[in-house]
Amino acid sequence: MSRTLYDKLVDAHKVCDLPDGDMLIYVDFHIMNEYTSPQAFSGLDTKGLSVWRPEAHLAVVDHVNPTRSNEPHDTASKLLIDNLEANCTKHGIAFYGLGDPRQGIEHVVVPEQGLVVPGMLIACGDSHTTTYGAYGALGFGIGTSEVEHVLATQTLRYKRMKTMRVIVDGETVPGVTAKDIIMKVVQVVGAGGANGFAVEFAGSAIRGLDVAGRMTVCNMAVELGARAALIAADDITKAALKGHAHSGQFAFKGENWMSDPEAVFHKEVTIAGTDIEPLITWGTSPDQSVPITANVPVASDYVSPKVKAALERSLKYMGLTEGQSAKSIEIDTAFIGSCTNSRIEDLREAAKILEGRKVATGVEAIVVPGSAMTRIKAEAEGLRDIFEAAGFEWRPEAGCSMCLAMNDDIAIDGERVASSTNRNFEGRQGRGARTHLMSPAMVAAAAVTGHLADVRDFKQETST
């Protein structure tokens, strides 16, 4: 019987069926952060339970910490950080806190530490856990009650999802990145278009991406509602794993972590890679995007009163005039960071645009490397010098920062941000803040021009 990669992963982790129709699945590895885990630990205490297998968990501080220094900026965030450390100490769980050379955004840290290999099942109290699909591993986000469940049982109650294959075929044009590919998928499938589905990405445009690019794609799959995102493990995956094993104990499991050729998906979507242009979001949902060469929508072009009302609401919140060109949107802030786009590969792409250029007058530009290791690597490569010479503020500590503004990096009411992050929701980066999502190179382009700009208009330094 032919099976999809998703079904193989579920089958390999199924512990048993439950009488109510769910199953128990085994969690190989569980990651925690400081804001979605405290109530899970207190749940264990209330019920008098212990942690099933402490060595299978990792806790990383990333959401509330400041990135200017490694000291908590207020007592409330300090309480969260201290609480996580105390819980980890009590239960014997690995803890990468502030100042630890391995600290950073959880989904940047885990691959860096060699903690993900094909065939694994990884859970984390964070929706962007879909990132690990880039390695042919099944990763998904869970709530705090489920964090408690994993801690106590090393399993989750699980219902098998339907499968969707998204095929992106054909070579993309220069300037189009993994971020543009996934933004295009979100635009086509819609913000809730994959609710109830596990999505596998396939096609030559996906196969051609390095693992960092694949992580960007799988990371943002949650923005179309996918609870799981997968890309088959191949030689690129294998090469990326080389020398990255954590304690040297991992390797490919003796199975091909890819869908069988005859496997049938419940739904298939095909997108031509050649048609994808660099995209920007203009609205307040990640599927509200247009090519940088286009204009923001005109509400009266739409017949449905519901669609019209939604467009008008988004345009009003974003402070945009219907029909204005994307390139005419002026920005206040440029932000490069987040679990979507803060890896060394992302920083290199942005630096190519920034080399020899200056951030426009009046634009505040910030870059937050995804982890301490990423920062050190970037500094060794000279990227920090390029960012700083251009006028970017290079943050010394890693974290989620302005992606969700749980620390002190909060955009003010009306502030317009060109952002390499994953969500442009109302209030996401601060109450009244206006977020435009795009690739890191596009953020760099916006920073130097002062308005949204086409990365393809920039003559890049051709390195030999």
Binding site: W52, S127, G143, T153, A191, K253, F425
Partner: protein, 201 residues
């Protein structure tokens, strides 16, 4: 949880209401589950000055008494924060009726006794219309029969068996699952060594 949820339904027709909107991040800096009622829909319910936003549906009679929401597509998308569900429960919301919900939000709801009946677009739109004009008429959600009734409307809804059972029985999943400890041990005994994670401290 009773098998039946009954009460006034408020219309909240916006699509893609995300968990950042349901529970803004400034309410997340906490180590308890309590005290989240005020944070729920805070940026919709209150002006930035703290004044009540009089046009928001939950601030208007009869919907100040609502314990059911009729919601737009893809409600609960975005972040995994269970705080969104805790807050809605603390605000007195027992159910949201919609055409589809984001996966993590759906699972979080089940763990906290928040029912999320899924109906067709047509039924949802009729319920929205009814809720808009209801003058406080009640909606009844029969979980066991998977049926919604109110006024002229009688419609069935979708809910998977495990979620239905969990909502009706209100059991503790963690304690229930520990009854399968033997099966978990047996699974672990067969685990490939290469998949046996041991994180360096």
């Amino acid at each position: 949880m009773n098998k039946t949820i009954k009460g006034i339904a408020a219309p909240l027709p916006l699509s893609n209401v995300d968990t950042d909107v349901i529970m803004p991040k400034r309410f997340l800096i906490t180590i308890t589950r309590e005290g989240l009622a005020d944070g729920t829909f805070a940026d919709l319910r209150f002006e930035s000055s703290g004044q009540i936003q009089p046009d928001f549906v939950l601030n208007k009679a009869p919907w100040t008494q609502a314990n059911i929401l009729i919601v737009g597509d893809n409600f609960g998308c975005g972040s995994s924060r269970e705080h969104a569900v805790w807050g809605m429960r603390q605000l007195g919301i027992d159910a949201c009726i919609g055409t589809g919900f984001a996966g993590i939000f759906y699972d979080n709801a089940r763990k906290n006794g928040l029912a999320l009946p899924i109906v067709s677009t047509d039924t949802r739109d009729r319920l929205l219309q009814f809720a808009n004009n209801s003058n406080g008429a009640e909606v009844t959600i029969d979980l066991a029969a998977r049926k919604i009734t109110t006024g002229e409307i009688s419609a069935s809804f979708e809910m998977d068996d495990a979620t239905q059972t969990a909502l009706i029985r209100g059991r503790d999943d963690t304690l229930d699952s520990l009854e399968y400890a033997d099966a978990i041990h047996a699974f672990e005994a067969n685990l490939d060594d290469k998949m046996r994670v041991s994180v360096r401290k």
